[in-house]
Assembly symmetry: C2
Homo-oligomer: 419 residues x 2
Amino acid sequence: MSDLCLSEYIKDICERAKAAVPSIASLPESKKNAILRDAAKALIDNADAILSANKEDLDAAEENGVPRVMLDRLALNHDRIKSIASQMEDVAALPCPVGSGECFVRPNGLCIRHIKVPLGVVAMIYEARPNVTADAAALCIKTGNAVILRGGKEALASSTAIVKVIRDTLTANGVSPDAVSLVESRERESASLLMGMRGYIDMLIPRGGKGLIKSVVENAKVPVIETGAGNCHLYVDSSADINLAVKVAVNAKTSRPAVCNAIETILVHKDAAESFLPRFAEATGPVGLEIRGCDRTRQILPDAIPVTDEDYDTEYDDLIVAVRVVDSIDCAIDHIRRYSTGHSEAIMTSDIAAANKFTSSIDSAALYVNASTRFTDGGEFGLGAEIGISTQKLHIRGPMGLAALTTDKYIIEGNGQIR
Amino acid sequence: MSDLCLSEYIKDICERAKAAVPSIASLPESKKNAILRDAAKALIDNADAILSANKEDLDAAEENGVPRVMLDRLALNHDRIKSIASQMEDVAALPCPVGSGECFVRPNGLCIRHIKVPLGVVAMIYEARPNVTADAAALCIKTGNAVILRGGKEALASSTAIVKVIRDTLTANGVSPDAVSLVESRERESASLLMGMRGYIDMLIPRGGKGLIKSVVENAKVPVIETGAGNCHLYVDSSADINLAVKVAVNAKTSRPAVCNAIETILVHKDAAESFLPRFAEATGPVGLEIRGCDRTRQILPDAIPVTDEDYDTEYDDLIVAVRVVDSIDCAIDHIRRYSTGHSEAIMTSDIAAANKFTSSIDSAALYVNASTRFTDGGEFGLGAEIGISTQKLHIRGPMGLAALTTDKYIIEGNGQIR
């Protein structure tokens, strides 16, 4: 960065990224795949340099008292680098939507091709996970987009080392290295500056905690995709198979409580409460799940902590669950309509009418019948990879695969048609 | 509006529209089509009331010195009402994307349906064209969206009469009339208030002049689709068939100069300038086209007015064209990249390589080879109807048909799958 001030530095990165767009967008798919494979190999070849940068990050983080769970996300080792490289090879192997689409001839003879093309410049603001640096770069290279990465400051040395390897690979393949840029600044301000770069950034994806996403959605002046806010619900209908309901509820809440597709609130039909709740409490006791329940829940589970309206509105991302006994499926639907962030909801039922009512009345990205919400994920949906899970309605909702990184182009060929 | 203040009034409209969403979104297609046909009939049955409201608007507009061309857009008569009604019947006859999509089974047995669903509440801010009121309402009813219409103040009485007919039809069909609302306010502020209704409006479409669109894009806090900014170009390559080039250029510039898909600048290869320019000037003389040319253009057309950089940046929407002679296709591409709003551009050429270079290097919604830019239109592209032409990259780019009024929903059925 040297003597440039921060805003000049960010502008410079954006201008270079925009200038690099034709260089990356015009590559045939075979070339982009070759670059991804070269980069995967180069990551492994340069593992020592990456690990030494990662050690620098880890030492600093430990010194600054960064919590254990975050240190774990930050830490790399040879196996993790191999897995990052292999993910890059997986992306190379995916079919790519760029250039494909539909074509048709109009009655006047105009031949119209409606195809998918790269967006241009994609920016991503994320937290201290060096693997996201590599993943995001891979998905953008694959789709012919230039990308600007702004990761968490705790991972800056690791991300710098990873991006250096990718940029060197681009250069070696005759592509502008500015197609993949990292904001090498630990200043918070660098994120806000990026959000304001209208005319340079075609899509900004925030990925991380609720605070980060809220700040980006509210402050950005460039087009943003809202991702990952996940206040997810599971409703146990009166007709549910209780064995299945307990199994799925336990999985949806406790298998990975910190991720966005984990549930936060369980709604139980009053006729299922007596059989479901004690078994759910018993099954989740060993992992130490904290249950916060409504009055009727606490009549069945006296140890439950009283729940508040604020609980219903909270994405715990932790081993805590809110539980509410409801009189009917309509009450459950009303509750979800009121508190949901529109990510994923599940119903456990054996009644077709209840299943249809639930899936048609609730306006969330993913609605499950008799399965865990934990499947809302690009890989699980068969998209091959994902750059985030959109909880907004414009552009795309749900897991964002390669197609989410493209836009439309119409190419129309004629022989002198006028109107 | 009576004694409510304007902001309370707007909030009330938004709350009612949001509350009406389930009522309209849950209708089967046959019912929505029946409503559209009923509304079409009711518009004709109530033509006298609509025409008398329209006369009120016209009298006031004339008194206020509204320009002739605008009065013409505002004016209704029995034929125009018939054409509005028949457009509504056309929308009823279109296939609707809502509810359809793809479905697939994952290796773990989860059955995933990825379908299109209504967005929720669509808002539209537009100018004094009563036909837009009916068109927008029809497209939103067809796709199961609630719509909030805020048209130009000059057409308020006409729009009120049209919306009353549509709301009565909704009520008669057992659907909440709040699925179609009109902001019955002449105050400018009502538009700004709408733009800020985050959490109520899922998509806001500004439709009209450049000033309106710019104001909405810059000030809105709700998701916006940028439409219709059209600084469009036509490039005459050295290899162009000059007869065809003159015919297409004349059409693209003069057939309807005020619309967004008309061209504003013609770029001519230096080797084609001597043959193209005099014939173009001769062909457009009778309609009074004003040519503003670069120095080299003025050597060939001495009567042309000197062009400025500001001209290149201007969407005239009028019988004026900027003309620049360029040394190569690369110069033409550079010019378009710099000045285009990303709407539509055309190349006249007989050279495949030039055509491919032009269509692949320029990042606009529609790129034409040997045809007029005037075809960028939902109807001409075979979408059946359009609610606007998007010049942004997120969600949709190009003419926006029914699919643009939908978002994604995943419905996943399992039998107890956990992850």
